[in-house]
Symmetry: C2
Subunit: 425 residues, 2 copies
Amino acid sequence: MKEVVIGFLGCGNVGGGVWNLLEGFSKDLEHRDSLKLRVKKVLVRDVNKARSCAVPQELLTTQVDEVIGDPEISIVVEFMGGEQPATEYMLRALRSGKTVVTANKVAVALNWHRLQAAAQERNVGLYYEASVCGAIPIIETLNHALRANRVYNLMGIINGTTNYILSRMYERGENYADVLEDAKRLGLAEPNPASDVEGYDAAYKLSIMASLAFHARVPFSKVYVEGITHLTAMDIACGKEMGYVLKLLALGKREDDTIEVRVHPTFIPESHPLAQVNGSFNAVYLHGHACKEMMLQGRGAGDMPTASAVVGDIIHAALAEVHVHPTFANTPEADPTLTFDDNWESKYFIRLSAEDRPGVLEKIAGWLAKENVSIATMMQKGRVDQGRVPLIVVTHAAPEHAMQAALAAFDAEICTVESMIRVEE
Amino acid sequence: MKEVVIGFLGCGNVGGGVWNLLEGFSKDLEHRDSLKLRVKKVLVRDVNKARSCAVPQELLTTQVDEVIGDPEISIVVEFMGGEQPATEYMLRALRSGKTVVTANKVAVALNWHRLQAAAQERNVGLYYEASVCGAIPIIETLNHALRANRVYNLMGIINGTTNYILSRMYERGENYADVLEDAKRLGLAEPNPASDVEGYDAAYKLSIMASLAFHARVPFSKVYVEGITHLTAMDIACGKEMGYVLKLLALGKREDDTIEVRVHPTFIPESHPLAQVNGSFNAVYLHGHACKEMMLQGRGAGDMPTASAVVGDIIHAALAEVHVHPTFANTPEADPTLTFDDNWESKYFIRLSAEDRPGVLEKIAGWLAKENVSIATMMQKGRVDQGRVPLIVVTHAAPEHAMQAALAAFDAEICTVESMIRVEE
């Protein structure tokens, strides 16, 4: 029986889930892997706070050195979240020869190069399966099973909060603000949901996934980010009528040395495999040159699903004789031989409010045509109100810059752009 | 740059795919992993046969010893299929200190214990990701990402031929025999499709998956197997009207020390994630105590998707410093502390042809009630023909043995059982 001693940095929801999972699973682990995992110290902010797990009081400490300075502890598991002080603590743990397992997407996305350099210097491990999509084994799949592939397309629903909100808006025609309030009440949205609803949470995860998928550093700063706060029940209803489902997608594409990475609300056909992924589920759909289409779907958040990934990594780290690191992650910057393209091609759904008089449709078509954006569908949606007609236009594929230029040229006296949503097939 | 020398046993479709993938991917591999994979010898039956890949003539041999007896070759990749001589060749390769990568579900399912014992004795690797569901990383996920889980439920569409046939029967109302002929013509069914359509292919794969999921040897002989050859367009149409989709499912369940493993046609609700998996796609849906629901979906067959898994294993094997083996696979028999239960609970869809006279429905209800099988729905489906009424009965959940006993008691003079299909929710 091998015994491995562990320290926790943080003990909130995920930490509590990991504690509970380790407790309930210890017999299985001894039986299956001849492995005993013992948690020796748990860093918390307040030793007297009520917790979701029964960590004995004597394990709690408010002194980080009692965890990362303990020579008996060989694996440090970090659940603090946020860039700092988590990154500094992990660096110190790695530099003192401890393997680190983390669920922290922000720290990994922003400081991968520093963390990995520290890990390599001491030949210890750095594991982060739980940082992207909870229990879904996307990190392992990109690192291992797909290693004989050039992945050229990633599409993910990788934020549960926004998917819950959009699913309800789609299914019940509810408004964004109402569903958000409900999601907060149900614990499906944070009291301050900005990072989720503005798309940043998905963008951190996309930076990590795209780096592994494309075998190249894809910095967070290269990800285009647009959230869901401006979406209306009207847009979703119009899309639905046309056979589209609205999702906050994280998109990554690589063609030769050009990479596109973007997070934004996206209409997809209701027949697309991702269209069926509802509520708080997450899924990643990808294409590789050998594996072809593949989709991994599951619980992207929640104490136990996240703990499933964390403890999977802990077991792996505890049994590994050698820790392997991806080669590209050592730099903070993108590979200079790569181009990050923000002028991607997409179809566009635009909702307009136009003056109700002859010649207006011609004007609209003209503004679009001037930038070579051609119209696939144009229709009136709803009644004339205060002299304005509501119109929906769906374009053929066009470059993003052309589309932005065309919309900027709309004369607001004649026609205002109420919303613009990208469409992927 | 590390160079690893490889030998092939067999060079049919999958072998050709692996050759082509290795050729086209060698630069990526050198760049990403500083790894050079060189194929030195390829065992074939006929050196003059035309092939789907450009293996140089001088690499071909009809002498197995030129592959497994070559001291320079450190990884032997087996694509022969079938139990023998593949198993003997792999055993000889392992015993001479070579790692084996195989796509052979039959050999692994039937001779896992012998193969693994030989691998452990020489501290070499045995890899078989490609033996189950082509490119889908189910073996790796069960072995690694889910290692902190007690998996208690597996449901898979793991045979592409039957899923193609059933999808077409469902979508277009076609007959089994017609679609099978078409599938043969399109290369989606073998000239002799017995192993696919009778469920054996899925049963071999289920034996491997269930063993890994349940951390216990699940012998092939314990799998209940029923194929799709008896299914009619009528059954599928009746189920469709009731909101069911028909799939050939591989089902594995574990509750405490009781395991159920079965392959049979199954109605599932059209809202089930597996109901959307159509054509030649494969998918595995599972539940773990920590990860909760998860589904992996992708290409379960085809030269390149299978080669994706094979080459993924080859790269892993070439770079691994230590080869890890599951602990339970060393025995040919099931763990004696486990019970394999063939008296599972299910709902049942039965199609009957009954005499058109008063009192018959009462009779039918009586035969079922005698075995405590209770009826959820009973309805007439279609017109009276030659004095016989077509009836559909869907039961509440009942034990398999009770259902079988009830059906055996039907008096054929009064009512014949045209079909019986299990229903999972």
